[in-house]
């Protein structure tokens, strides 16, 4: 579903990604972890074409992201993205947040988009919040609305960039539950997170990034039990404590 081949990226002289290779198969969930600044968010933004990269190739569902002939707007409708700080549109209700893109991009009628949005809000467990503005929702509720907003475009892939790290501990579970649900339901997912419980439960593969490179990868058990590099071991010790 996603093939990342020899991707390197620079911001000026600073190399953010170093020869990254990775393949995500349909229906798989891949968890990405690594210290701050290691290039995790940048990698996600390269996958849906929000950031250009100078070297290598990324192929999503058979389409090359860096090919100038690729319609990036069309490609992005196939890839949902969920952000650390939710990024809900504050001037719109939860429902309007969800229906905007289906109406503007898919040209759905307001009615049709709203019906679908209500189903999604039920799926993430907060149909009663449909007409609230984001400011009146808790962090966990906002993030669930954000997930529903991404799902509204019926993407084939979902990317999550530290979706729970801005949340209070008691709200983390409600968001992770939704994500576990998606993963077991067969969604192809790339999740940047340090929630190792989540990784153990659903990830087919875990990769560890440091200074722009993937320095360790493994299935859940091999990854946790015998990390090869001392950096990974160090990092795991810190976040698992």
């Amino acid at each position: 579903m996603i093939q990342i081949k020899n991707v390197s990226k620079w911001y000026g002289d600073f190399q953010v990604l170093r020869d990254v290779n990775e393949e995500v198969k349909q229906g798989q969930t891949v968890v990405v972890c690594g210290p701050s600044g290691s290039g995790k968010s940048t990698l996600l933004r390269c996958i849906n074409g929000l950031e250009p990269f100078q070297h290598g190739e990324i192929i999503v569902d058979g389409v090359s992201v860096s090919d100038p002939a690729t319609n990036l707007y069309r490609l992005r409708t196939e890839i949902g993205m969920v952000f650390q700080r939710f990024e809900l549109y504050p001037h719109m209700t939860a429902l309007q947040n969800i229906t905007l893109a289906p109406m503007k991009v898919r040209k759905k009628s307001r009615r049709e988009a709203a019906d679908h949005a209500m189903k999604l809000l039920e799926r993430v467990g907060i149909p009663e919040k449909a007409h609230e503005h984001p400011a009146n929702l808790s962090g966990g509720q906002q993030q669930r609305v954000a997930i529903a907003r991404s799902l509204a475009m019926e993407p084939k892939i979902m990317m999550f960039d530290e979706p729970t790290s801005a949340l209070d501990p008691e709200m983390i579970k409600e968001v992770l539950d939704v994500m576990v649900d998606l993963s077991t339901g067969g969604m192809t997912m790339i999740v940047v997170t340090h929630e190792m419980g989540f990784a153990r439960e659903v990830a087919e593969e875990i990769i560890f990034m440091d200074e722009g490179s993937i320095i360790e990868r493994g299935t859940d058990i091999s990854f946790f039990q015998n990390p090869k590099s001392p950096r990974t071991k160090d990092f795991l010790d810190k976040i698992l404590m």
Partner: protein, 216 residues
Amino acid sequence: MDLAVIPRNLHFLLGGLVLTLELAAISLLGGFLLGILMGLGRLSSRKWIYYPATLYINFFRSLPLILVIFWFYFMVPFIIGRPLGDFLSAIIAFIAFEAAYFAEIVRAGIQSIPQGQVMAGYSTGLGYYETMRNIVLPQALKNMVPPIVTQCVIIFQDTSLAYVIGLKEFLRRIYLVDSRELRSVELYLFAGFVYLVFCSIGTITSRRLEKRQIGR
């Protein structure tokens, strides 16, 4: 004091006030629309949009308005081969000039919206135009309201400069009445009063809007 000079010439003076308000309203609308385009241009990553927009803004912001009014009055007929008339050439000058100031208001307003909002829009497949129109501009406009109202007050005052090309706006008519009736004190006090009233309305509106925003 002979305040009777004012009712005696009220019709003539109010005509000037209407002209002033028209000039201000059209300049405001045109300047704002052009200002949005220039402000967006100033934020563009495309060099062939960014540089002309930046040049335009810096150019008009470094000139005194009165010079711009003169230019359009004398130079446009030279280019298009026929006179434009004082009202039309004043309007064009004001729109061109005020757009540069609105552009900076628009730029600051847009920059106050976090980049994540744009990314969220793009990630759902929205294009540049839809993202701007539905996500960024509605939020940015709210932040822009106070400086826009301030700019309205400035435009209203600026319109008096159109007298240099003989446009009979409010202040020009005050001057004309004065040269006939020789009642400077009364007339100019009255003019000040009118400007004060209109500008206060603007300032109070701006404060109200600002307060409402903080309360939100």
